[in-house]
Symmetry: C2
Subunit: 373 residues, 2 copies
């Protein structure tokens, strides 16, 4: 078991407990410390089936009332309507300002329950129990919570630092292999942008990517969360440097939107985006070819080959700009200056990236292909 | 024109500009400092009729796009549905993280628009332009924003410090006299709990309460906001001492609920509640009779005599406890220890307050009467 202490300026420090069996070993203590009278476990239907009374059972010995709030499963339910359901349930349970929320699930549960906790009675204490690799390395560190608007993802949300986070590796056992791999890309990302030693650790242990060696996953998740926590500590409100966490996300988001969110899991799209950003970094002279080869080799270990519908320059530009008509003619593009070294290139234009994208398609067909075939 | 600088720990300091003509004199500069490309003025139908293009006209010379979002008028529209309307409008206007929100209206507009600004894209800059006395002295200092749930007022919200506040006394001219008086009680409250000099200033100038002497109102609002800002600075998240701002609110809330929010304006109910809390403070030996007489005299200057339907001890208890069935058998009751001196009495029971309430009805019939007649 590892524990990472996160200190965000202006907020109370909180622990992230990471390890196989952490749910049983750590959650009761975290809940005892922050709960008063009532604990509401927010989860989804799938997890409620997989782990009936899972969390409630672990909390059985505490002198607290434990109630559940079960949401439908899926990104399409990450909405203001679901939020209203949570508020109704909290009201019916007579939740008050000391009621503790436990968010038990993947990113959708964490984001939605986290936003409810940020806003009900202007803020209830929150414990995150992320059950997917992606949620463990990404969405449960940093305090970002949100729901989607029909026109934009994560359009409505708040920053809410949890009182504690419990990451139990054993939940990864029930994760479909494809989701495990998708989460891995965000984990690799943290090595690429800020921690060359983490990158090297992953290179050395790539045989463990598809297995159940919990000690590998514990170490990998711990190191990854440590990187993210460091970046968030420096810029909790995402005004500046935190943007480096968006490495790989420009093309990633473009691919997700272009394929209607049906071809890629988020992590997979980001994986391709990271390879593309590394490719551009090499092409523009910031990254030496050797480092590019190592990155390519590690990313392609787990990358499923994807094919997308044809896309011309105007479509590429429109998607890269998020369909915004106005002012913005450029984006902030995140480049690598070496393994573990990242920098922001302001005012990068679609016109600069489009030829690189065409070259990328030609040179990296194992990552991405375009057109029928 | 007076300016009060508010410094909340962990947030950027912001100015409150107070004075007749402040809208024209100060708003353009505040907006220039915080606006980028797009400014969205959120207001209600009544104000949009009273001041067509009022705010837009003042901002005409700035190189910014100014758009409006007009809400229906009334507390019954302070809901999640209205919030969704605001999000839809912001999305249609292509608002982004730098879009400035100007909340132009009373407490309902300020609370609803403020919550939208706190949550859209996880936070847009916000300027409050409160147009009622109550909103000027109360809801636009302190960063509390919220909407109602059908079962509880202000059930869902966030803390959001504005980038600036502009309080123009001239808006008070269009306020119904009853609303002006209701706002006055919160203003008197700030003197009673923390600033004996403000209380004495109000005693000396009571002839100005019903008039349009803007220099009186400017001074009174300035001093009142200064008290509230000081309390908020010490406890921005309302974990402890900020509760003293709830002076008068225990009975006030009970009266509002008992009368279905139809007999009292919020400020009026709080006025009666403050007199009751002072009465109890005298009865329990914390407040000398002379101070009670001065408080009574000042409050009764503007207090309309109210009559409420009969209420027995069990109803009194239920309403005082906010209908909560469970655990809580007592409340935190705020008492006076002298003019400008307040303290919190923990674990005050309805059984202690009920006989005092009966005495209050008997001894202060000009403030409150019960039963038919």
């Amino acid at each position: 078991m590892r524990t990472l202490q996160v200190e965000v300026p202006g907020e109370r420090p909180y622990p992230i407990h990471i390890g196989a069996g952490a749910l049983r070993a750590e959650l009761p203590d975290v809940v005892r410390r922050h709960g008063r009278e009532l604990v509401v476990v927010i989860t989804n239907e799938t997890l409620a089936r997989l782990y009936p009374d899972g969390v409630a059972d672990v909390l059985r010995d505490l002198p607290l009332r434990v109630a559940a709030c079960i949401l439908p499963d899926g990104e399409q339910f990450k909405t203001l309507d679901t939020l209203t359901r949570i508020y109704d349930r909290l009201m019916a349970l007579e939740a008050h300002r000391n009621t503790l929320i436990v968010a038990f699930g993947g990113g959708v549960v964490g984001d939605t329950a986290g936003f409810a906790a940020a806003t009900f009675m202007r803020g209830l204490p929150l414990v995150q129990v992320p059950t997917t690799l992606l949620a463990q390395v990404d969405s449960s560190v940093g305090g970002k919570t949100a729901v989607n608007h029909r026109e934009a993802k994560n359009a409505v949300g708040a920053f809410k630092q949890p009182a504690g986070v419990v990451m139990d590796m054993e939940f990864l056992a029930t994760l479909p292999p494809r989701e495990l791999t998708a989460g891995l890309f965000e984990l690799v990302k943290h090595g690429m942008i800020r921690d060359a030693a983490l990158f090297e650790f992953l290179e050395a242990r790539r045989a463990a990517f598809s297995g159940r060696d919990w000690s590998f996953w514990e170490e990998a998740v711990f190191r990854s969360c440590r990187v993210k926590a460091a970046v968030v500590q420096e810029d909790p409100r995402e005004t500046d440097q935190r943007a480096i966490l968006n490495f790989g996300h420009s093309l990633g988001h473009l691919l997700e939107t272009h394929t209607g969110y049906e071809t890629f899991l988020h992590g997979e799209a980001v994986g391709v985006g990271m390879l593309f950003a590394s490719f551009v970094s090499r092409r523009w002279g910031h990254l030496v070819p050797d480092d590019y080869s190592r990155i390519r080799s590690l990313l392609l270990t787990s990358m499923p080959r994807k094919r997308i519908a044809p896309l011309d320059e105007s479509g590429f530009t429109r998607l890269l700009m998020h369909d915004k008509k106005a002012a913005q003619q450029s984006i902030r593009f995140i480049l690598l200056g070496g393994l573990g070294k990242v920098f922001i290139r302001e005012r990068t234009t679609p016109a600069e990236l489009w030829p690189e994208f065409q070259r990328f398609l030609a040179e990296e067909p194992d990552a991405l292909a375009m057109g029928a075939g």
